[in-house]
């Protein structure tokens, strides 16, 4: 049996009697790109900080490639690379100097060829002589990724790696993440750009109020919860929304010439069209759009009150 890259069992954490993480459990197999999503304050960063060793574990256990991150913390941390959400500024050294000694913290000798490769891949070459405060937001993030990878970790945690990074750079960073994943590094990431999580992640977990309220393959999550939006364009404007469409989440545009509806997973566009014909509505055109992770995320987090998750 393959040892999971990360195994979390009944993990919990409280601050001043307030439970920030509530007995969550999940595993990430080696080689996966796993997305941990949730609104602000959902418990994602607390979870990541407990995995990384920045925050004490409140209850439960964490294993990195089978090594307990408390009992065998030296091995577990050696296998882990973490890029934190908060940008940490250390202006005593240029980024070149920092990159040269940083692997040593992990008990690993500096590998100049690997370091050079990271510098090239992340476009840090022209900025090596600068201290961190002189770098742009995007460069700071790229530098932090390089730092997290210098000791060649087998599990890389990226906490909001593209926050505040422009679109072009984001694409470059994700391409880089895919590349290191293809080379065998397991990735755990959090992002606010849900579209990116949808494109990047093999599986997605959603946290809300400290609980895990969804955990499944990205495709099946989209399939299961993926309602489709439908816009029905009309020849003649309507004054009010027909009562029969209220159950479809119907909403009339201000000029009355279009009705916006939500198609549940078990219904087809054909069913809707038949209903519209029966009602005698003057349909001119019909557009459908599959809901993205964004809509699913909002739907799930809206439906689950605090303390109501299934922790699956």
């Amino acid at each position: 049996m393959t040892v999971p890259a990360l195994a979390i069992d009944n993990l919990s954490k409280s601050y001043d009697g307030q439970q920030a993480v509530k007995e969550i459990s999940f595993e990430i197999p080696p080689g996966e790109i796993f997305g941990l999503l949730g609104p602000n304050g959902a418990g994602k960063s607390t979870t990541i900080n407990m995995i990384a060793g920045v925050t004490r574990i409140g209850g439960g256990r964490i294993e990195v490639f089978g090594y307990d991150n408390q009992r065998d913390y030296r091995v577990a941390r050696r296998l882990l690379g973490v890029m934190h959400q908060e940008v940490v500024i250390d202006n005593f050294f240029t980024i070149d100097q920092t990159l040269k000694f940083h692997a040593g913290y992990y008990g690993v000798r500096d590998d100049p060829a690997w370091r050079k490769r990271l510098i090239e891949q992340l476009g840090l070459g022209p900025h090596l002589h600068k201290v961190m405060i002189k770098l742009s937001g995007g460069l700071k993030r790229r530098f932090m990724i390089a730092k997290a990878l210098l000791h060649k970790p087998r599990l890389l945690i990226l906490d909001e790696p593209t926050a505040g990074v422009d679109v072009e750079l984001r694409h470059g960073l994700w391409e880089f993440v895919r590349e290191i994943n293809r080379a065998g590094t397991t990735i755990l990431l959090t992002t606010h750009y849900l579209e990116e999580a949808e494109q990047m992640c093999d599986r997605i977990a959603i946290m809300h109020h400290g609980e895990l309220i969804a955990l499944e393959a990205t495709g099946s999550l989209l399939e299961r919860l993926g309602t489709r939006g439908v816009v029905v364009h009309l020849h003649q404007p309507l004054q009010t929304l027909p009562a029969a469409l209220a159950g479809w989440g119907g909403r009339l545009d201000t000029d009355g010439r279009a009705v916006r509806l939500t198609l549940p997973p078990q219904q087809t566009a054909g069913d809707l069209l038949a209903l519209l014909c029966r009602m005698g509505l003057p349909v001119a055109d019909l557009e459908t759009k599959r809901a993205g992770l964004e809509e699913i995320f909002l739907q799930i987090t809206k439906d689950v009150p605090a303390g109501g998750g299934n922790g699956s």
Binding site: G53, T55, R77, R78, V88, F92, G107, V108
Partner: protein, 262 residues
């Protein structure tokens, strides 16, 4: 892209890396960390060695410069060992860069040892330079050279621990400065750097025995000049116990990740 084989793990390397980083940190800002304390000590030497000192005599058989130089050397050791650990660790906590260490396989023992050795190195380096620039003002007999080095090392070790403890307790730069200005400085000035405790009136001389700096300064001066208020046994025993206590305190805080991990 990455090599799937894990690179060899060298258990002592995290310690060595942190030590190297800490030493390079204070060398990087040498004008603040090395030059400023030396200039301050040079001014003291000028005042007490070349001007006022020629008119004062407090210890039979020695000039005032000879009396005051051991205190000035130890003051440099104390201030710099304390400043190195307290400033560096507090800044790491304050700026958040401490997470770079918390996520690594660095053990608590390696953590303390690296910070302590860097601080001792800075304290000893500044202390040595102060001694070198004192040479034109007075020659010291170095009565017990091994004890001179031992007391300087013990002092730098003790104040490196004190710096760690303060860095973990301080919540702001103001609090950090408060420890330095309202705790350390009075202890140094009232601990016998500029006068022998024995010349104080009875209640003040007795009170001075509660000042930990008194044992360090007296022991150091005794080793250098061959004369002191206390025996070596008393000075070294009290200093050693203080150093052990401070180390246990710092080790407990760091072992429990006090104010490092929430």
């Amino acid at each position: 892209m990455s090599d799937r084989r894990l690179p060899e793990f060298i258990p002592w390397l995290p310690f060595y890396t942190l030590l190297q980083k800490e030493v390079r940190r204070f060398l990087r800002v040498a004008s603040q960390t090395l030059v400023t304390p030396v200039v301050t000590a040079a001014l003291y030497l000028f005042i007490f060695g070349a001007t006022l000192g020629t008119r004062i005599s407090v210890l039979e058989g020695f000039s005032y410069a000879q009396f005051v130089i051991p205190g000035l050397i130890l003051m440099a050791v104390v201030n710099n060992a304390f400043a190195n650990t307290s400033t560096s660790l507090f800044m790491s906590r304050y700026l958040g860069s401490i997470v770079d260490l918390l996520v690594t396989p660095l053990t608590p023992a390696q953590f303390i040892l690296a910070y302590t050795l860097a601080a001792m190195l800075r304290g000893m380096a500044v202390g040595t330079v102060v001694w070198l620039i004192s040479l034109p003002f007075a020659t010291l007999p170095f009565a017990h050279p091994a004890l001179v080095v031992a007391m300087a090392l013990l002092t730098s070790f003790l104040f490196a621990q004190f710096g760690l403890i303060v860095a973990l307790h301080a919540d702001s730069f103001d609090a950090l400065a408060m420890y330095s200005n309202f705790v350390l400085m009075p202890l140094i000035y009232l601990g016998g750097v500029f006068y022998p405790i024995s010349i104080l009136p009875a209640p003040w001389a007795g009170l001075s025995h509660l000042n930990p700096l008194f044992y360090l300064i007296d022991g150091f001066r005794h080793a250098l000049l061959g004369q002191g208020d206390l025996s070596f046994a008393t000075a070294f025993t009290v200093s050693g116990l203080m150093a052990a206590g401070a180390f246990l305190w710092a080790a407990t805080l760091i072992g429990r990740s006090y104010r490092l991990r929430n």
